[in-house]
């Protein structure tokens, strides 16, 4: 066991871990952030996706100790505050981009990284970007529409901000 400092959602957690502890387990068991889900623990399903330095990564395939010094974003930090939703979260609710909710954390973070990268993705681009995140419930169509809606919501927010400024 050794001390590891993890910066998650802007807060530095000092936790005591074995070297073998995955980032996913550290987030869930030691940082109290259980929104990161474990679906397969071998890198196929993408449910454990978190943002590491703004890139989507499978937290089951990263050792926690490797992430020291990185900026980690989890589902709990996606919205600016607990009382609001990020546009991508709002869009997944509105467009029914989820059913059981188990893939949703990883799906939202991957979607957010796409929208950071491409503010207006086509369905083909969305399929390609998101395909490392499996969903067993929805059949994907409503997730694609959710991401498109999120893009629209973000643009609307930006237009509103520009108007105000």
């Amino acid at each position: 066991m050794k001390p590891v400092k993890l910066e998650v959602n802007g807060i530095v957690h000092e936790v005591f871990l074995e070297d073998r502890t995955s980032l996913a387990d550290a987030l869930r068991d030691d940082c109290g952030l259980t929104g990161t889900r474990l679906g397969c623990e071998h890198g196929v399903c993408g449910a454990c996706t978190v943002l590491v330095n703004n890139r989507p990564e499978r937290s089951c395939l990263v050792l926690a100790t490797q992430a020291e010094g990185d900026t980690i974003g989890t589902i709990e930090g996606l919205a600016a505050s607990p009382t609001v939703l990020a546009p991508v979260q709002q869009a997944f609710r509105q467009a029914h981009g989820l059913q059981c909710g188990f893939c949703t954390s990883g799906m939202l973070l991957t979607a957010q990284s796409l929208l950071d990268h491409d503010p207006d993705p086509s369905p083909a681009v969305i399929r390609d970007w998101m395909h490392g995140n499996l969903c067993r419930c929805t059949g994907f169509d409503q997730i694609i529409e959710s991401v498109q809606l999120a893009a629209t919501l973000i643009k609307q927010d930006q237009a509103r901000e520009e108007e105000l400024s």
């Binding site: 474990l38 399903c45 029914h96 059913q99 969305i126 067993r136």
Partner: protein, 817 residues
């Protein structure tokens, strides 16, 4: 006994149903706030890892746990001997059989292991990682026994026995003939026949099974948190653990998908319970993904059909019969449901008078079979639609024409099928015609014809078309006909709900069973909105644990929308009736002169709409103002309502009529269009259209999600998913690198057409929708691929249809020419 919801005094129009609505559940899930079983953090909790058998069939000679026991952090270790000392055999259908079958199942293997992945030793430790370390230190000596790898091997003479007291590995053999199929087949102009193979697949929900057990000494009560989709399992654990059932409490967690595959996982529940009794700590087990796929007690049907359809010279279907051999694996758990359920729609949407079957179930050295979305209906529909396609080819009819000729007509409902099950309602010809039109079926056929003229040797277009039933809302009667169960042991499965209105007029609903990841909370709130008139999003929904829950089976067999809406509406209407005298008191009117107006959420005097008593005013009076209440009234506004199956009937004792046991029948037509790469066998989709009818729609987005999601699962059933075993009964698909779940890039966008033929027998006409997509898509996709390959004479009689098989079939076809 069939249920009626107390009827309202007036007819409502829909105001909450059919509206787009964000789900209640999504509010927590988009924040990562769902509480799944793996998210529970209880003080002092121990974590379980299991040593699972690497062998399909072997005697356990010796287990050495000394090294594991001395590992720091290990609290307790259990072997089969420990389990056998402190529990009875797990309750399975073997005990329900009359007489009971000697197919014991213990949480850990005792004398021998009977499938790869069978739990042999359990370790409870401070962390899961330590528990796994300890498992690696355990040494088990096995003496190999010859394995039984499939049904053929099981039935071979001199086959090794999976259970020593089950001769010939034969669990049961049944024959039924409804409507004299034998003579119908003898006299028919045409008989088409197909032999079909359907291997195991599984729900593979992204969340694996898990549970936490907490024993409270002194109180002698056991609490389980788990992600079981149904309360049924909890009802059965008492006898196994030697506890009265009311000393077991089940708390449902959020469930990360189930698809039938979280219906029956008792082994780890028993293990966690024993560990908790030993240590008095909470004890958790969560399946790893390999454990889930290999040893999770969740594999779906595993069968071989030899099936025939009899027709007259015009193409009119006269009779259906098949023999089916089913491999239940190494124990007898849910098996018969997978065979009984499909018989509720044995003859599909077609008017077929005669039906017969010959059913054989065997034991093998595979993990016990349980349920996967459709309870065997996907395989059954596949069998029937393969026969219909075969008949069309033989008779020179188009896929559309043979269905037009045989579909049930709207005026035939309610329709009694050959087995006795009733179809409540439907309009199948309209569904077919709309599907043909809206899928641009004829345009695709033209495009296919042009492509065939070009004779491109590299690719071929195929168009599939199937019309399938989606039976919903099962009752239990089929089970005891399927095998020799004591009649009347279990007839129906009710669902309960509680509704309470507090002094502020706020509405709370308590559900009495889990949700497998579908929006049951939203459905409940929507029904409250529909009946009471309060906004759905103002309704607070929670779940009762099983200690105070009423009869409530929970989700399975597409029953929740019907059962839950019946239960919630019943409770709301009873609460409205409790409010009536209070409103009359407030309005100084005669109770009989009042009507509830859901558009304003108040009681009004009939004909005097301006004179009203609001929900808030009545609720205030009802909670804490006993001295102001009219005579005969008590404080409190609540009701718990148990809704029985809306339309079931008893079978005849002689088995000639199985009664009505899954009568709420949805319907769907699938039209996939595929392109097959003739050189690589790769299949890509050019289009996929689904016409569906699940009666009245509560939430259109949720319905779409169910239909599309199940269709995509069915596509994977058709193309990629299989739990295969080698000749030593070793599983070949053990993780997500070899069990092939589809991604965003592997499936098409699904176009939908909606129809609503309300059921006359359910609340507002709703029908089930959970399984239908998967019950139709495999048949549809295979139909499309066979259509593409029809110029080469290829006939497809199995799933999954892999590129490898396509090339083999094309090679065989060209070799034959």
């Amino acid at each position: 006994m069939n249920s009626t919801i107390p009827s309202p005094r007036e007819t409502n129009t829909h105001h909450a149903f059919g509206q787009p609505r964000e789900t209640i559940e999504s509010a927590r899930h988009v924040r990562g706030g769902g509480k799944f079983v793996a998210d529970l953090q209880l003080p002092g909790m121990l974590h379980v890892a299991l040593l699972r058998s690497p062998k399909a069939h072997a005697r356990i000679v010796e287990i050495d746990v000394r090294q594991a026991r001395s590992l720091l952090g290990v609290h307790a270790i259990l072997t089969g001997a420990d389990v056998q000392k402190s529990t009875s055999s797990i309750y399975t259908m073997a005990q329900m059989h009359k007489p009971p079958l000697d197919i014991p199942l213990h949480a850990l293997a005792t004398d021998k292991v009977r499938h790869v992945g069978e739990p042999v030793v359990a370790v409870a430790a401070r962390t899961r990682a330590i528990a796994e370390d300890a498992v690696r230190l355990i040494r088990v000596k096995y003496e190999d026994l010859p394995p039984v790898a499939d049904a053929d091997a099981a039935l071979a003479s001199g086959a090794p026995l999976v259970h020593e007291n089950i001769a010939g590995n034969l669990i049961m053999h049944r024959q039924h003939d409804f409507g004299d199929a034998e003579s119908v087949f003898k006299n028919a102009d045409h008989v088409v026949r197909r032999k079909l193979r359907w291997p195991r697949q599984t729900g593979a929900a992204l969340e694996t099974f898990g549970c936490v057990a907490q024993w409270q000494p002194g109180v002698d009560e056991l609490t389980f948190w788990s992600n079981h989709q149904s309360n049924v399992l909890l009802w059965t654990l008492g006898p196994t653990l030697g506890l009265p059932p009311h000393r077991i409490k089940g708390i449902a967690c959020d469930i990360g998908g189930a698809f039938g595959a979280k219906f029956w996982q008792p082994r780890a529940m028993v293990i966690c319970a024993l560990f908790s009794r030993l240590t008095t700590r909470p004890v958790r087990y969560v399946e790893g993904r390999v454990e889930n796929l290999v040893g999770g007690d969740n594999h779906g049907e595993d069968r071989t059909y030899d099936a025939e359809l009899a027709l007259d010279s015009s193409g009119k279907m006269l009779g259906l019969r098949f023999s089916v051999v089913e491999d239940y694996g190494s124990a007898f758990i849910l098996g018969p449901i997978n065979n009984a359920e499909p018989l509720a729609q044995a003859t599909g949407p077609y008017d077929i008078a005669a039906f017969a079957f010959d059913f054989t179930a065997v034991l093998s050295n595979k993990v016990p079979q349980a349920a996967y979305r459709g309870f065997g209906g996907a395989a059954h529909n596949f069998m029937l639609e393969r026969l219909v396609d075969a008949a069309a080819v033989e008779l020179g009819l188009s896929a559309v024409a043979i269905r037009e000729l045989n579909l049930l007509q709207p005026e035939q409902f309610p329709y009694r099928t050959a087995t006795g099950n009733i179809y409540d309602s439907g309009d199948y010809p309209t569904a077919l015609h709309r599907a043909v039109k809206e899928s641009s079926y004829d345009l695709w056929r033209e495009r296919q014809a042009r492509a065939r003229e070009v004779k491109d040797p590299t690719r071929a277009i195929g168009i599939g078309l199937v019309s399938c039933q989606e039976r919903s809302v099962q009752s239990g009667t089929a089970l005891w006909l399927m095998f020799d169960q004591e009649p009347g042991r279990n007839t129906t499965a009710a669902e309960s709900a509680s509704v309470r209105i507090d002094s502020q007029g706020s509405v709370r609903v308590a559900l009495h069973s889990p949700s497998l990841g579908t929006p049951t909370e939203t459905i409940a709130a929507t029904v409250v909105a529909e009946e009471l008139g309060v906004p759905a999003d103002s309704v607070s929904v929670s779940r009762l644990d099983t200690s105070m829950a009423g009869p409530a089976m929970g989700p399975s067999a597409s029953r929740m929308t019907v059962m839950l809406s019946g239960a919630v509406a019943g409770a709301v209407r009873e609460v409205i009736e409790k409010m009536r005298p209070l409103a009359a008191h407030l309005l100084e009117a005669n109770p009989e002169d009042l009507m509830w107006d859901p558009s304003r959420a108040c009681f009004t005097i009939v004909g005097v709409p301006e004179s009203s008593a609001t929900l808030a005013a009545i609720a205030h009076l009802a909670n804490g103002h006993a001295l102001r209440l009219p005579a005969g009234c008590r404080s409190g506004l609540e009701s718990t309502y148990t809704y029985d199956h809306p339309m079931s009937s008893m079978p005849h004792a002689d088995g000639s009529d199985w009664g009505n046991y899954a009568p709420i029948v949805g319907h769907t037509v699938h039209v996939p269009v595929v392109e097959v790469d003739l050189q690589t066998g790769a299949v890509t989709f050019l289009d996929y259209f689904v016409m569906h009818d699940c009666g009245t729609v509560v939430n259109p987005d949720a319905v779409r999600g169910q239909v599309v999601g199940a269709t995509v699962q069915g596509i994977a059933t058709a193309l990629t998913e299989e739990l295969a075993f080698d000749e030593q009964a070793r599983p070949q698909n053990t993780d997500f690198r070899s069990y092939f779940l589809p991604t965003f890039l592997d499936v098409p966008a699904i176009r939908l057409g909606h129809m609503e033929t309300p059921s006359p027998f359910t609340y507002r006409g709703v029908k089930g929708i959970g399984e239908g997509g998967r019950m139709a898509a495999p048949a549809a996709v295979v139909s499309a691929i066979e259509d593409a390959l029809s110029p080469y004479g290829v006939r497809i009689n199995e799933v999954p249809v892999t590129p490898e098989k396509i090339l083999k079939w094309l090679g065989n076809a060209s070799a034959a020419q």
